[in-house]
């Protein structure tokens, strides 16, 4: 058991920066989720910990030990590969057993552990099959079994559930969480899946283009995104980001101009000095340099609305409905999430939108960094 630490870890491949000065720590016993779009360096980060890549600069630590020069076999981590990487010539049993054999675990203990793990993953009937005789989901479970069959210092899981069907995914997700809790093994868990990230992670590290954007608890990430990227990436659909044309001090609280209306910015200037400074900046700028961020569930349609918009598409999801609108500038899009029971507008209909007070975030338009607004 040990923490896993990246210290200024950088990795480039032929000029492509896969990891950019990554500073991140998975605490001892923590399940840390790495979340980010395709190609943002999640797999690369895991490979650095496993020892399959060396950082160009910076350090990787497992426990107290800098492992830059330690061979993969001596790092004592278990990895679930995105591509499964099963041994094609070995049966499921031998695949799962492989890491135990390498560690010289005695046969009786080996058999017991393999039986236990494969049983819990529903692989009991397939022990004598070769990987090519399994479905994608079964292979993925074998890969998972091969990792959790031993007690390493850390688990590295690269999208281990991506190929399972919805029901199995839900169950395996719960199994992994329970297992991780029971063993208390530090886990780096890579996923694309928002729900997986939110439900499994003790903390979530959001990455983009090789750089860490924010690391925090799931709710904190959702409620206080550190920048516009995190705001848009986390949540489904992500946060609406509208150009903020001007910021006004106005009773009772500050408000901002967006194309086709205004949005409340929550706090008055006196309590949010950053907002006051931003207002000054936006006043002087020739083009919009601020963004207002509003989560879709914090918007509703109503006569009392402060933003004029035109409905583009109405998506029905069963429990809820997403109404996609364009603002009056014709380019800005905004999504409203409403209950299935609420009145559904038709496409092309003109509507007015209300943003709940105290829910609007403000980001700078250039760097995307958070300025202020709702907290």
């Amino acid at each position: 058991m040990a923490q896993v630490v990246f210290r200024e870890a950088t990795k480039t491949f032929d000029g492509v920066t896969a990891l950019d000065h990554l500073d991140l720590e998975a605490r001892d016993g923590e399940l840390l989720v790495l979340l980010g779009p395709s190609g943002c360096g999640k797999t690369t980060a895991l490979r650095l910990v496993a020892g399959l890549e060396e950082p160009d600069s910076g350090e990787v630590l497992i426990g107290e030990q800098v492992v830059n020069d330690v061979e993969p076999k001596d790092r004592d981590v278990a990895m679930v590969f995105q591509s499964y990487a099963l041994y094609p010539h070995l049966s499921v049993r031998r695949n799962v057993e492989f890491p135990l054999r390498q560690r010289g675990v005695d046969p009786a203990e080996r058999r017991r552990r393999v039986a236990e793990v494969t049983e819990s993953l529903g692989l009991g009937d397939y022990l004598d099959r070769k990987p090519r005789q399994l479905s994608g989901g079964q292979r993925q479970r074998v890969a998972l079994a091969r990792a959790i069959v031993r007690s390493p210092r850390a688990f590295l899981m690269d999208e281990p559930l991506s190929n399972l069907d919805a029901a199995l995914r839900l169950q395996t997700r719960a199994d992994i969480v329970a297992l991780q809790q029971r063993l208390g093994t530090t886990t780096l868990y890579v996923t694309h899946d928002q729900v997986e990230a939110m439900t499994m992670g003790h903390r979530i590290a959001v990455m983009d283009r090789g750089a860490l954007q924010q690391v925090d608890g799931p709710q904190a990430i959702y409620d206080h995104p550190a920048n516009a990227f995190v705001a848009r990436f986390v949540g489904n659909p992500g946060m609406n980001l509208l150009p903020l044309l001007a910021v006004h001090e106005g009773p009772p609280a500050a408000y901002g101009d967006v194309p086709g209306g205004t949005v409340p910015l929550g706090a008055p200037f006196v309590t949010d000095p950053a907002l006051a400074r931003a207002a000054a900046v936006v006043q002087g700028a020739s083009s919009p340099s601020l963004l207002a961020g509003i989560r879709p569930e914090h918007l509703r349609l109503g006569e009392d609305g402060t933003i004029d918009a035109t409905v583009l598409i109405v998506e029905v999801l069963g429990a809820e409905v997403h109404v996609l609108c364009t603002l009056l500038d014709g380019t800005s899009k905004i999504v409203v999430r409403q209950e299935a029971a609420a009145r559904r507008p038709g496409a092309g209909e003109g509507v007015r939108l209300v943003a709940s007070p105290g829910t609007v975030h403000v980001f700078t338009g250039v760097s995307g960094a958070r300025v202020g607004g709702s907290s």
Binding site: L52, E71, P72, K73, M79, S83, Y87, P88, H89, R132
Partner: protein, 319 residues
């Protein structure tokens, strides 16, 4: 195609009910397609027929005749008697023994060295295409050139061996003990290029992530090689064994150029193919040579079949 398709539920039964109609048309179409197929392979069949199948068959007939030493004289039918005579001759038995020994020397060495080179080039020299070209260059080197080079290296006066202080007497290529191994060294060298290419292709077909998974799972380099690489390479190794065996059975040029029938060690290096040529050129007995070529054919076929039967069971073919 123009009919409106009925609801899917009935489509299946309708299709079956109409069965007698379409199959006849389908059969006629299949016949036409087959005819076109045969027409297309006809040129290839013709070439093979003239240059491979006909000589192959004629050879069996030739084996039953005692042929005259000079062209124009009649052949005598002697039947299987000639076969027995050749097979029991001491020159054949010695040739067979040398060939077997030669195969044993060449096949494992050629394959293992090829594999080692491939592993080295694959792991350490990954980016260095030039090594691949060098290692595989023996494939395009003619036997004559390589024989000349090795002949010079092994020359008792100006060669590399005397310079190194190795100077067996009689000279290595006339030495009854060392001539065959010397030819084997050349054959291995010549085969190395193909062996290297084969093994490299086999290695590059092994997914990197499987090897990586093994390393993360705690396997040493040695274990990865023996437990993962070799089993996954087994189809290639198996194929290599078959190809190398056939190659070794058919080695000829080096003996022809460096040994020859007047050499003191000749009887110990008289490989089967060379023996066949010698029987025609020197002894002028084509009928006996025909028997020898049939023996070579049967041996090659037999060994290949044995390998298919016994080795292939241990081969893992991935998905």
């Amino acid at each position: 195609m123009t009919t409106v398709s009925p609801p899917t539920g009935t489509a299946v039964t309708r299709g079956r009910a109409q069965a007698p109609g379409p199959p006849r048309r389908a059969r006629r179409r299949r016949v036409r397609e087959a005819a076109l197929g045969y027409l297309l392979v006809l040129p290839a069949l013709g070439v093979f027929g003239i240059f491979v199948f006909y000589p192959f068959a004629a050879n069996f007939r030739l084996a039953l005749y005692r042929t005259p030493p000079y062209p124009g004289l009649p052949s005598h039918y002697v039947g299987l008697q000639q076969v027995g005579q050749v097979l029991s001759s001491s020159s054949f038995l010695q040739s067979l023994g040398s060939t077997a020994l030669f195969v044993v020397m060449v096949v494992p060495t050629g394959l293992i060295l090829g594999l080692l080179l491939a592993v080295a080039a694959y792991r350490r020299l990954r980016a260095m295409a030039v090594y691949r070209i060098i290692f595989s260059s023996t494939v395009v080197t003619s036997v004559a050139v390589s024989a000349l080079i090795f002949g010079t290296l092994m020359d008792p006066v100006v060669g590399l061996l005397p310079w190194l202080g190795l100077n067996p007497s009689p000279p290595i290529l006339e030495n009854t003990t060392w001539a065959l191994p010397a030819i084997a060294v050349m054959a291995v060298w010549q085969f190395l290029g193909l062996s290297f290419i084969l093994m490299s292709a086999g290695l590059s077909a092994i997914p990197d992530d499987v090897l990586e998974a093994a390393r993360v799972d705690g396997a040493t380099d040695r274990t990865v090689f023996w437990r993962i690489t070799v089993p996954l390479l087994s189809p290639t190794i198996f194929f290599g064994v078959v190809v190398a065996t056939i190659y070794a059975f058919q080695t000829f040029g080096q003996v022809d150029i460096l040994i020859g029938p007047t050499n003191a060690a000749f009887e110990h290096v008289n490989l089967l193919v060379y023996n066949i040529l010698n029987t025609i050129e020197v002894n002028k007995t084509s009928g006996q040579a025909a028997v020898l070529s049939i023996v070579l054919f049967v041996l090659t076929l037999g060994v290949t079949l044995l390998q298919l039967r016994f080795l292939e069971r241990r081969v893992h073919y991935g998905n």
